[in-house]
């Protein structure tokens, strides 16, 4: 007989299923900061924290906050074929979304073509397949790239997808200088948490520097990197650790760019950040206020940057992630709403709200619309965006912002002592730390120390956890992708492909050459992502994952 967990875990296997009593209120934040019953003016430091738009930007990077410009409503989306995804983008744009966010499938993220044996079961599953320029042309068909900003959650192959975006713009006749958007392009956290690394750390850092320097020159309004704490957080890190690891990675990128002769005043203006928002409301608000202030200070302390714009901490967020549950899934709508308010009060530049079913499937149009409306309700009904940093000056908020800044700085210094974040990653030290945190977090939920309503507390014995409509991916999507791929290979100019790949390989072998223009040429020749990655791998090799348990 089998001991399956059944459809969802049966209630006797879920910790706290029988807990009828409400939990004891906790006295510390999830990062472990002990919170006083009341914070007084003296405890809060009793000082002027400056105006919004004034360094070190505790209250925001812009003097007029959201009055000048609302945050970008940017829903992460992509699945199946480029045609399917283009249709979903049009649906979201017609519904009032203000930026695109492209979810790519795992083969594209790992640099494998859809015909590769490892790729086959994963084509189009967690995102759209984008193996060559022809697919990108379909993806953005009817969407004016000079008017819409596009964000790509792409890392291992970020430089290639960015090159492809430039190539699509070229084909649409849109000047590159008009392109706006973001590529995630943060490889350091991939080694720690998200896992779509390809090359070893050193050549990966070079590729990132290449793309940032190229972008500063060719697409000056585009963010060529979004240094992301989000995935480390979702993997187990606390809010303070999320901030610390992210800023430490940011420092590593700045150091790399300086080694490459970059002008910090110029490139620092285009660095952006990305975080998760989880449920502890004030800790999330203060994380962003502390991060904004600490980044501005670190750039001045460590790199002598005084230019104000170069010290701007601009960030996007995702609300949802591992704070969402399969148990009583409609509760997730409330969670995402709460998290969105924290993001707005923290001063986010762009927000992605997860759909209530996003923890376990690709959202349906129904659930995706609720997620979009959640932001619009907060933006246009709640009035919380009316004045800049409305929580500024609250004794508690200023006190907690100070605590979080101190704790974050302490972790960054710990990493400095270890020998830097790059070493901590190559050794597998950070990965191990996150895994232990994840286990602790899981144990805390199992023991009922962390409350998850509808899961380990306030759960009905007979609850079904039904989430309504099931998303069905077109079962023929992968086959369609492979057919289109074969057709592109059949009609492209093979000699041009070979020439462009040979030139790329030569550029990759030399440290003093920027590979970006060569990647754009490869894209124009309809070379595939898999071909470009294979070419670079020949020169750079592959990352060897340190496995520590």
């Amino acid at each position: 007989m089998s001991t399956s967990a059944g459809a969802r875990a049966p209630s006797d296997q879920i910790a706290g299923a029988a807990r009828a009593e409400p939990p004891e209120p906790s006295t510390s934040t999830p990062s472990g900061i002990e919170v006083p019953v009341v914070v007084t003016r003296e405890m809060a430091g009793d000082r002027d924290i400056g105006a919004p738009g004034e360094a070190p930007f505790t209250r925001g990077i812009f003097p007029d906050g959201f009055r000048g410009r609302l945050w970008t409503i940017r829903q992460y989306s992509g699945f199946g074929t480029a045609e399917d995804t283009n249709e979903r983008y049009r649906f979201l744009l017609e519904g009032g979304q203000t930026g695109l966010s492209v979810a790519l499938d795992l083969p594209t993220q790992c640099g494998l073509d859809p015909t590769d044996s490892m790729a086959k079961p994963e084509v189009g599953k967690v995102g759209v397949s984008l193996s060559n320029l022809a697919e990108a042309e379909i993806l953005f068909d009817g969407i004016d790239l000079s008017k819409i900003s596009t964000s790509f959650t792409i890392n291992g192959t970020a430089a290639i997808i960015y090159a492809m975006y430039c190539a699509v713009a070229d084909k649409q006749g849109v000047p590159r200088a008009k392109l706006t958007g973001t590529i995630q392009n943060d490889i350091l956290k991939e080694y720690v948490a998200r896992g779509t690394w390809i090359f070893p750390v050193r050549p990966s850092m070079r590729l990132i520097a290449d793309s940032i320097l190229f972008s500063n020159d060719q697409t000056p309004r585009f963010n060529p990197i979004s240094i992301a704490g989000a995935h480390v957080r979702d993997a187990g890190a606390t809010a303070v650790e999320e901030l610390a690891y992210t800023l430490a990675n940011g420092i590593a990128y700045v150091e790399e760019l300086l080694r490459r002769g970059g002008d910090v005043t110029k490139f620092a203006r285009r660095l952006s950040f990305f975080f998760y928002v989880h449920m502890d409301f004030f800790e999330e608000v203060c994380k962003f206020r502390a991060g904004r202030r600490l980044w501005a200070k670190l750039l001045e302390e460590r790199f002598g940057v005084t230019d104000e714009k170069a010290r701007h901490f601009r960030f996007g967020v995702v609300c949802g992630g591992s704070s969402l549950t399969a148990a009583q899934p409609y509760n997730n709508i409330v969670r995402v709403g709460t998290e969105t308010m924290a993001a707005v009060l923290g001063g986010a530049q762009s927000i992605f709200t997860c759909a209530y079913d996003e923890a376990f499937q690709i959202p349906t149009e129904f659930s995706a619309e609720i997620a979009l409306r959640t932001q619009q309700i907060i933006a246009h009904e709640s009035g919380i965006a009316r004045t800049v940093d409305p929580l500024g000056g609250s004794y508690y908020v200023e006190w907690l912002t100070d605590r979080m800044e101190e704790e974050t700085r302490a972790i960054i210094e710990e990493l400095d002592d270890y020998g830097g974040v790059t070493k901590a990653i190559e050794d597998g030290y950070l990965q191990m730390r996150i895994a232990e945190r994840a286990r602790d977090r899981k144990r805390a939920v199992d023991k009922g120390e962390t409350v998850i309503v509808g899961q380990n507390f306030f759960r009905r014995e007979e609850q079904t956890d039904d989430f309504g409509e099931v998303f069905r991916l077109d079962p023929k999507a992968a086959e369609k992708v492979r057919e289109k791929y074969d057709a592109v290979l059949a009609r492209r100019d093979e000699a041009a492909v070979a020439r462009s790949l040979a030139a790329l390989e030569e550029a990759a072998a030399r440290d003093d050459v920027n590979v970006m223009p060569f990647l754009v040429d490869c894209c124009h020749a309809y070379a595939t992502v898999g071909e470009m990655v294979a070419t670079l791998k020949r020169r750079w090799g592959e990352f060897q994952e340190p496995i520590r348990l």
Binding site: S2, S4, L106, E122, K125, A235, R439, L549
Partner: protein
């Protein structure tokens, strides 16, 4: 003789391979389970990311494990689990128990169980319950 003391190492002497088939890079669940099984006394091997079913089955047989835990969050579980089980059978490893964990929609559980999987675990399960289910399947 009766003892009320809880067995702290119910998996002592058992060898378990935790594996990540396919391209999915979310390894937290795999690591959390690996740590929990090790805490329960098992000898745990972790493959690391992006392994093919052939590779996983090869390691399982070479390392003479009692069970393989496959962690999948990318939606490709049906194909990859079936392929791993086929590769195990091909290498005379059909007696190795296979468990699956991750983002596995409830309607897919019967399919996996029918294919011979010994247990399907989702993120909301108590870790102790997961360990207990594996102990029950592996026997003394």
């Amino acid at each position: 003789m009766q003892t009320s003391a809880k067995n702290e190492s119910p998996l002592k002497g058992k060898r378990i391979l935790i594996a990540k088939p396919g391209l999915d890079g979310h390894d937290v669940g795999a690591k959390v389970i690996a740590l929990a099984l090790r805490d329960a006394g098992a000898d745990v091997i972790y493959t690391g990311l992006r392994k093919s079913p052939e590779y996983i089955a090869g390691v399982a047989v070479d390392e003479d494990v009692d069970a393989v835990g496959l962690s999948l969050l990318s939606g490709s579980h049906i194909e990859l689990v079936a392929e791993t089980m086929r590769c195990l059978a091909e290498r005379d490893g059909a007696d190795i128990k296979v468990f699956v964990g991750g983002t596995i929609p409830s309607e897919d559980h019967p399919t996996l169980l029918a294919a011979g999987v010994s247990g399907v675990f989702t993120a909301d399960m108590d870790l102790d319950a997961v360990v207990a289910a594996i102990v029950a399947e592996l026997g003394p």
